[in-house]
Each structure stands twice: as C-alpha cells, then as structure tokens.
C-alpha cells in the first residue's frame, strides 16, 4: 500500500506497481509475473537445455548472471543513452555479459560448454533479458534493477530446474546422474529427454501453474 504512487509496470501492464521496494520486485519476478511460466518469455532455451537437471542449473545461473549484469549497466547508463539507439546499446551490453559467461564456461567447464552448444550464445536473443532491460532497468535506479534482474533470473532458473528435474527423472530414472528410479520397476521413458518430451513437460507445468493461480486471477477480475 505504501507504493501507490509508483508507475504501473510496463511489462506486466495491469498487474499493478512493481517499482516500490526490493521485496515486491523479488516476488514479482519469482512468482506473480514469472517470466517463463506467466509471461511465457524465453522458452527456447527452457525447452532445449532441460534434458538434464545439471544443464538446466547451469543455464539458470547463466541467465541470473546476464540479467543482473545487464540490468545494472543499462540502469547506470539510462540517463545518458539516447532514446533512439537504446535498443542497440542494450544488445551490446547483454552480448558483453553473454560473452563473459561463455568464455568462462569454455575455460573452466569445457564439457558443459559443449553440451549447452549454441544456447549460451542465444541468451542474447532471450526475450527475458531484453524485456527486463527495456521494461525495468530503463526507468529504475541501479540497485533496484539488480534486484529485478536477480528475481527474474531466479524465476526462470526455478522453472527450468523443475522442468529439468522431471525430464531427467522420467527420461533416464536419474537425478544429477544418481539413479533414483530403479530400473527393475521403472522403465525410463526415452521420449521425455527427446524434443517432444520438452514440449509436453513445459506445457503441463504451465497448465498446472495456471490451475493453481486460476482462482486468484478470477477474483482479481471481479
């Protein structure tokens, strides 16, 4: 209630103010307007890397890092960036952080870098990062923007971890390479680690979240 004067959030439209303090911003990114499950942004990588939980976690960390970094710098430069070229400036900042993370992976975790393939580079075109820079960091001070970046990155990472967990569990019977479902009574369903399984898993998880949120959303409408 304290932040009634805050402007309506650009990205979540009618969902009300989200520029108030750190905590509402955090909740916004993690739950109320989770970038992946609610706004359905950045699903390409969410589908592609979730065949193993480990990959999903690394990808989640990558996105948190890029989101926090790019939000911080976009916000720091927000008063000196000419409006017309702001997009290309944002892309340049994002690409810089993606390159940093990619070089780091290549230097220290070569196997992981190979497994993730082009998807690390594709964070540049991930709508979440760009969306947060455009919708939040351009209007807000640096620290709050960092919180927002972290919240959205975390929200993305959480959904990714859930999808990755179920796909690895059902697809191979393992979690983080440890056998959980014994081969004697559970036969791993290969489909889950193949492409169609990704679509089914994410579709069902979004539907479950919708069902959980359903009553809340309807109450708001009335």
């Amino acid at each position: 209630m304290a932040n009634e004067k805050q402007p309506v959030c650009v990205s979540c439209g009618a969902k009300g103010p989200c520029g108030g303090k750190g905590l509402p911003t955090l909740k916004e990114g993690l739950w109320t307007s989770n970038p992946l499950a609610i706004q359905v942004l950045g699903i390409c990588s969410a589908l592609a890397v979730t065949n193993r939980l480990e990959n999903s976690l690394v990808m989640g960390i990558a996105l948190i890092f890029v989101c926090v970094g790019s939000n911080l710098f976009v916000s720091l430069l927000r008063n000196v960036t000419p409006h017309r070229i702001r997009m290309i400036a944002e892309v340049a900042i994002i690409a810089t952080f993606v390159i940093l993370f990619d070089q780091f992976l290549k230097a220290f975790y070569w196997d992981m870098s190979k497994q993730l393939g082009p998807y690390v580079g594709l964070i540049i075109t991930n709508c979440i990062v760009m969306g947060r820079a455009e919708a939040f960091a351009l209007q807000n001070p640096p620290l709050l923007s960092m919180v927002d970046g972290a919240a959205n990155g975390l929200g993305y990472a959480c959904v990714l971890a859930v999808v990755g967990f179920f796909r690895e569990l059902l697809g191979t019977g393992k979690v983080l390479d440890m056998t959980v479902l014994d081969g004697k009574w559970y036969k791993p369903n290969q489909l889950m680690i193949l492409a169609p399984g990704a679509f089914f898993a994410l579709g069902i998880i979004i539907a479950v979240l919708n069902a959980l949120k359903g009553p809340e959303a309807e109450e708001k409408k009335q």
Binding site: V40, L41, G42, I43, C44, S45, L47, A48, I88, V91, A92, A95, T96, V98, I99, D102, Q103, G117, P118, G121, L122, I124, T125, N126, C127, M130, L191, L194, A195, P196, G197, A198, F199, F200, L202, G203, I204, I206, A207, V208, N210, A211, G214
Partner: protein, 196 residues
C-alpha cells in the same frame, strides 16, 4: 561432416533436424504469431529469406574477418549486429522499391531481429563446421523448416478454436502440447537422412 552434400543438409534441416521442433529455436514468435495462416505465411517467408542471407553473410564474416584476426570471442556480438543491420537494410530496401511487399512483410521484419532461430542458425553453422555451400543449404533449409512448422501450427490452431480445451490448458499450454505432438510426427522422418 565435410562430406555431406548441401542437398542432404537442406532436406535434413527441413525434416529431421527441424530448427524449431528439434532445436526449439524461434519459439517466442512461433507461439505468438501462429494464430492465423496468413500471418504464418508472411513470417515464414521473411524468416526463410533473412535466415539464408544472414547465414551466408555471417559465414563470410566469420571465416574472412574474425578467424584471421583471432577475434572468435567476438562472434556473438558481431553476428547479432550483422543480423540487426541486415534486417534494417532489407526493411529500407523493400519500403523503397516494393511498397506492396512492404505492407505484406513489413511488420514482421523488426520481429525477426530478436528471433533466436536466426542467430541460432548462424551459431549452428559455426559449431557444425559447414563449408560455404553447406552453409547456404543449411540456412535455406532451416528457414524453410521453420516456415513449414509455423504453417502447420497455424492450420492446427485455426481448427483448435472449435475444440473444448480444459481451462488451465487454454492458450500457451495447449499450443506447447500440440507442438509436442507435431515434433513427434516429425520424428517419423528420423531415419531418412541424418546430420549430427
């Protein structure tokens, strides 16, 4: 890899290694713009054209500028800049010389800059170490494959309007599940040709 002919790569990029259904690239615009067949055709055409051209351009830049000067770590930022500049250029060109085409495709062009399939195609081309002819085949095939997928999806979604979908599944979730079924159907092509 260097032995595969460009034609095989083209076929494989359309069917067995469809960039959307097996590599999940370009999902955002796929979900958002697949409600109408007309829109799907427009976007599909634009993506095919831009993807072919940018793959070729990026091939040239990577092998003749970045590699000789040991600038491989700059790949991402250069590729995205090339794509953005190319799309901008095409937009101006089309607007000047063919206003009709501009009205048909114009609104899709800005969307394409942020379409991850375009950047993805260029990155795959580098990772799989295609030569020039193979890159042309791959760029064209991947674009065509994306267009085929979004066209099929648009057709399905137009029919889906009349079906009774459970409430939580309405909108995006059912689109995902249908895409999953589509991906399964495309897996039927798997034995035909294969690239890594």
């Amino acid at each position: 890899m260097s032995q595969t002919s460009a034609l095989v790569i083209l076929i494989a990029a359309i069917f067995t290694n469809n960039i959307l259904l097996t590599n999940f690239l370009g999902m955002c615009s796929f979900i958002a713009c697949s409600r109408q067949i007309g829109t799907a055709v427009g976007l599909g055409t634009a993506v095919t054209f831009v993807m072919t051209m940018t793959t070729v351009l990026n091939y040239a830049i990577y092998h003749f500028v970045l590699m000789p000067h040991r600038l491989a770590h700059m790949t991402f930022i250069v590729f995205i800049a090339v794509i953005a500049a190319f799309v901008q250029f095409v937009e101006m060109f089309v607007e000047r010389f063919s206003p009709r085409l501009y009205f048909a495709l114009g609104i899709f062009l800005p969307l394409i800059t942020v379409n991850c399939a375009i950047l993805g195609a260029s990155l795959f081309m580098i990772i799989r170490q295609y030569n020039f002819v193979q890159s042309v085949g791959f760029g064209f095939g991947a674009g065509l494959g994306w267009a085929v997928a979004i066209l099929l999806m648009a057709g399905l979604r137009q029919k889906m309007r009349y079906s009774n979908i459970p409430e939580p599944f309405q909108g995006v979730p059912i689109a995902m599940v249908v895409t999953g079924v589509l991906a399964m159907a495309f897996m039927g092509f798997a034995g035909m040709v294969s690239i890594q």
